[in-house]
């Protein structure tokens, strides 16, 4: 269980800082919570999408008639049936709703059908006749940079160029390496699904699992050719997201089908289709050169980073910016030359996934730090501590870090937690690499320990107008029970904002009943996306402002009631009191004259664009984390068992420690997944493992023990002092596992995920001269051997 360093001072703890339980917990454990795939209406039809079996092709013709001829089929639509904008996209609308003339990736939508029964719909989609002319795909990002454009917008999405300090400076010690990260899938358990219901006014209601209702609405309305007011989105139960629901998947198809049929249409992706239906984490190839002086101070970091964005833009521009800005890791370095490219290819589109650009580069910069430590003959933890960013240091973008920067603290916390005991005494065979397969030979198993450190931005950067809206309605019933109804479009994707919202009301207004209205686009403005670890800060900030506005109105009413100036009225957990006379009036009494209903918008401090040299105050705030991984590796079979991950994480302030623990453990699971098992396998652009049989995510047997220490140093600018917590666990946990495998095997291992053949069939390239050298004592802090 995470401990707390106890650095927070709290003036009030009525709502925040306690492990309140989820308000949706009971319906979820009883099977009564309605996920988007559980929705049902009378006379509902089922939709299905036809997707390209080819990676790259020209479409000669699409004939929907064979599908329409099947009894029970109510509609079949393709590109020519899109009445409005034929494309969509988060930043730039470069992705066709349906491919019309060109197929640019395996699984691109061509047509959609609606039918009485899901099996009929599936059969009908297969009956659509499409004539393709195959085109040689471009599946290598470096090749794409030199190839003819795959799209009218060209193949280079963005080049982020950072020139900081003296580009000609050379260190006493120079280490170089090339690293690669594979394509990871979010693999949320609840597949894409939704229900579209045509309205009598010509509009449509869409019940949908998404991360950002309002931006979905705007993209849908544009393609439907309808005003946004006629496209009403309602959040349906979301079965996980992790970035994979930031882009539109089936939303536009569903609304088109419902409007065409004049009947409700439901669509639920299969797991296979889900792999084709959302963007993935960008695969990356990264060249790094680190310079240091003999004392171990970083002198310069050079990097060339190439991110494969796949066929369409999605959020590649922001991902590649993160990769560039965070390329050195959370270390002080006065000189940097970074060139980061996001490139269009014929691979599946890539976009947001937990960690968003920081994950890929962390594999590079942390391997480099270990290489540098080996070259300098210093402890890798000491090297990191020596170079750790501190408050008021500059990033390579020139930005001075004005928030809290506890890099040293997170590292010391991670390495200070107890090491695991020897092998599991309870059942040694099952606890060995290979687990229940009982394949490991204990004499081939060696243990390794590795450490990695990371940082990432909170919320949106580079001048984006980032805001969140919240509306609170406070009213009293006949029995003087006061209820606060919260209208907020924040997508609850599992992270627990619904819990936090109640805590904020308790903290800011008092012990009132709290009702969370279903999130929609009609009752309140945008909350922005549930991504970039931003909702605690942004939606939390909006709710804080709304509560302040409610208190202000209550104070005015109290001043009038008590016949005293508003300045003499104090708010005291649901009561208002005159500081002059001491007379009191309750909120319930003040609400007799009518409810209070206010909406407020929270903006964070404006950020700046990066200039031509990649300089500028582009980021709001940064989160830091360190991870130490302990692994057992069967060298002969190449199997890895992650035994333990310990972490120190900078959280600002833990507003709900239990929820923070859940984010840490769940994020680490996804981090180690990328390190040792998770990758979408592509064969010339074709996805080969679109199933949970072939794309493996960690099970309960794969998951290591997790130890965590929360570093609570309130962030001055953040509402409630809280930084985000969702992403850091996923960033450096995987690189720590890779470092640990390197320590156990002595292999260089430059690619994640590490596969058994990389270990068992390696040609024996070693990073350290003596793999048996015991580095664990250096890494384990004072508690080694416990």
């Amino acid at each position: 269980m995470p401990g707390s360093s106890g650095m927070t001072t709290r003036t009030r703890t009525t709502g925040l800082g306690k492990s309140e339980l989820r308000p949706d917990g009971i319906p979820k454990v009883r099977g009564e919570f309605a996920f988007s795939s559980d929705l049902w209406m009378d006379a509902m039809l089922w939709g299905h999408t036809l997707r390209s079996p080819h990676v790259s092709a020209r479409i000669r013709s699409v004939d929907l008639r064979p599908a329409l001829a099947i009894p029970g089929v109510r509609a079949a639509i393709a590109a020519s049936d899109v009445p409005g904008r034929p494309t969509f996209g988060l930043e730039v609308a470069d992705q066709p709703v349906f491919a019309s003339d060109v197929v640019r990736y395996h699984g691109e939508p061509i047509a959609a059908v609606a039918a009485d029964h899901p099996e009929t719909a599936r059969l009908a989609a297969r009956a659509v006749l499409v004539e393709y002319e195959l085109v040689e795909p471009v599946v290598d990002a470096e090749v794409a940079l030199r190839s003819d454009p795959l799209h009218p917008d060209g193949n280079l999405f963005r080049h982020v160029r950072i020139r900081h300090g003296d580009p000609g400076i050379v260190g006493d010690v120079v280490v170089e390496g090339t690293y690669e990260v594979g394509m990871q899938d979010q693999a949320f358990l609840g597949p894409e699904s939704g229900l579209a219901v045509p309205g009598e006014d010509g509009g449509v209601d869409l019940y949908i699992a998404t991360q950002w209702l309002h931006v979905d609405r705007d993209q849908i309305a544009a393609s439907l050719g309808l005003p946004a007011s006629l496209v009403r989105l309602h959040l349906a139960g979301v079965g996980g997201a992790f970035g994979g629901r930031e882009d539109v998947s089936l939303q536009i198809h569903l609304c088109l089908l419902a409007l065409r049929c004049g009947r409700p249409v439901k669509m639920v992706y299969s797991r296979e289709e889900s792999f084709f239906g959302h963007v993935h984490r960008h695969p990356a190839k990264m060249w790094y050169r680190h310079h240091a002086d003999y004392a171990g101070n970083l002198v310069k970091v050079e990097a060339r980073l190439v991110l494969d964005g796949g066929a369409y833009l999605s959020s590649s521009n922001a991902v590649v910016s993160n990769a560039a800005c965070f390329a050195p890791g959370p270390y002080r370095v006065a000189n940097a030359t970074i060139d980061a490219y996001a490139v269009r290819t014929n691979n599946p589109p890539c976009g947001a996934m937990r960690g968003f650009g920081s994950v890929q580069v962390c594999y590079g910069h942390e391997a480099q730090m270990d290489k540098l430590a080996a070259a300098l003959h210093v402890d890798p933890v000491d090297l990191r501590l020596r170079n750790a960013l501190r408050r008021y240091d500059r990033m390579i973008t020139g930005q001075v870090l004005t928030g809290v920067v506890p890099v040293r603290e997170v590292i010391e916390a991670a390495v200070g937690l107890p090491m695991p005991s020897g092998r599991c005494l309870e059942d040694p065979a099952l606890s060995l690499p290979g687990g229940a397969g009982l394949s490991a030979d204990v004499s081939d198993v060696s243990r390794g320990v590795g450490v990695a450190v990371s940082f990432k931005n909170i919320a949106y950067s580079e001048g984006f107008d980032d805001y969140a809206s919240a509306r609170v309605r406070l009213e009293s019933d006949d029995s003087a029970n006061v209820t606060a109804t919260v209208f907020i479009a924040t997508a609850e994707v599992g992270q627990g904002f619904v819990t936090l919202a109640g805590q904020i009301i308790a903290e800011e207004l008092g012990p009132f009943g709290v009702v969370l209205a279903q999130a929609n686009t009609s009752d309140v403005g945008s909350a922005g996306s549930s991504s970039a670890s931003r909702q605690t800060w942004m939606s939390g900030g909006a709710l804080m402002l709304a509560c302040a506005a409610v208190r202000h109105i209550l104070s005015e009413r109290a001043a009038s009631e008590l016949d005293e100036p508003a300045a003499a009225v104090a708010y005291d957990t649901g009561e208002l009191r005159s500081t002059v006379s001491g007379r009191r009036v309750t909120a319930a009494e003040l609400l007799i004259s009518g409810p209070i209903d206010v909406e407020e918008v929270y903006h964070h401090r404006p950020t700046m664009a990066l200039d031509a040299d990649g300089q500028g105050d582009a980021h709001l705030s940064l989160m830091f984390a360190a991870h130490r991984a302990v692994v057992d590796v069967d060298r002969g079979l190449g199997l890895v068992k992650v035994v333990q991950v310990s972490t120190g994480q900078d959280v600002g302030r833990a507003l709900n420690p239990l929820a923070v623990t859940g984010q840490i453990e769940g994020g680490i699971a996804q981090g180690i997944g990328l390190a040792v098992m998770e990758e979408i396998i592509l064969d010339e652009g074709r996805v080969r493992n679109a199933s949970f049989t072939d794309y493996l995510i960690p099970t309960s047997l794969d998951m290591p023990d997790v130890l965590a220490t929360l570093i609570e140093q309130p962030e001055p600018e953040a509402p409630f002092g809280a930084k985000g917590v969702g992403e850091p666990p996923t960033i450096s946990s995987g690189p720590a596992v890779l470092a640990a495998i390197r320590a156990a095997t002595g292999l260089e291992l430059t690619r994640a995920p590490v596969r058994p053949e990389h270990i068992a069939l390696s040609d024996g390239i070693h990073t350290v001269s003596d793999p048996s050298e015991d580095r664990s004592s250096m890494l384990a802090g004072d508690n080694a051997g416990l």
């Binding site: 339980l21 949706d24 917990g25 979820k28 454990v29 009883r30 099977g31 919570f33 309605a34 996920f35 795939s37 559980d38 929705l39 049902w40 209406m41 099947i70 029970g72 029964h117 899901p118 099996e119 059969l123 979010q186 693999a187 949320f188 358990l189 609840g190 219901v197 979301v238 079965g239 997201a241 409700p264 639920v268 299969s270 797991r271 309870e426 099952l430 606890s431 229940a436 994707v493 599992g494 279903q518 239990l658 929820a659 623990t661 859940g662 840490i664 453990e665 769940g666 994020g667 680490i668 699971a669 199933s691 949970f692 049989t693 960690p698 099970t699 309960s700 047997l701 998951m703 997790v706």
Partner: protein, 177 residues
């Protein structure tokens, strides 16, 4: 707000196959399934024809355990069983476990220990944990991990789920004293 289906939803049939009527015994009640295509899985019939969407579909391959139900008292993935094949069997769903209260301490512990995030895997885990502790009340940590390894969770990293299981074990062992 569209709702989950109520009892006895007679979904439409597929055109190329004869439809079938049969009875299933679900959560102690005999339920008539009308007009079902023989290719429909038990999961589909529970969710779309019998108004029991608590069991979830996440993989269609028996990998994730989200669709776990008890079939003649054995945990199965209902996505791998044809509904018509379940005739004559006793089927218990998460809804049935909830109504009976048999898994109440498991459900309560999962909420209190933070084992629920998005909640999509949760009903399947309730069934799996209920079954585990019925057969192995004193399951060791490794037995718990092994027993739940057929239930994928993408949100929690399993730590709070293990804690919930241990919490139930502690509660039940106190109750035995």
């Amino acid at each position: 707000m569209p709702d989950s289906p109520d009892a006895h939803i007679d979904g439409s049939t597929v055109p190329w196959s004869s439809s079938n009527d049969f009875d299933l015994t679900v959560d102690g009640r005999s339920r008539r399934v009308r007009g079902s295509w023989l290719g429909e899985t038990l999961l589909y019939v529970l969710r779309e024809r019998l108004g029991l969407p608590g069991s979830k579909n996440a993989c269609e391959q028996g990998e994730c355990g989200s669709c776990s139900v008890l079939l003649d008292d054995v945990v199965v993935c209902s996505c791998l069983i044809l509904a018509a094949d379940a005739q004559g069997c006793t089927i218990r769903t998460v809804e049935g476990l909830s109504a009976s209260g048999d898994a109440a301490d498991v459900q309560d512990a999962m909420v209190r220990c933070g084992a629920v995030q998005c909640g999509f895997c949760t009903p399947g885990l309730v069934v799996a944990i209920y079954d585990l502790l019925r057969h192995s009340p004193d399951a060791t940590d490794m037995e718990i991990r092994e027993s739940l390894s057929g239930n994928l969770c993408r949100c929690t990293g399993y730590g709070r789920i293990f804690e919930a299981v241990r919490e139930v074990q502690r509660g039940r062992s106190c109750a035995r004293l």
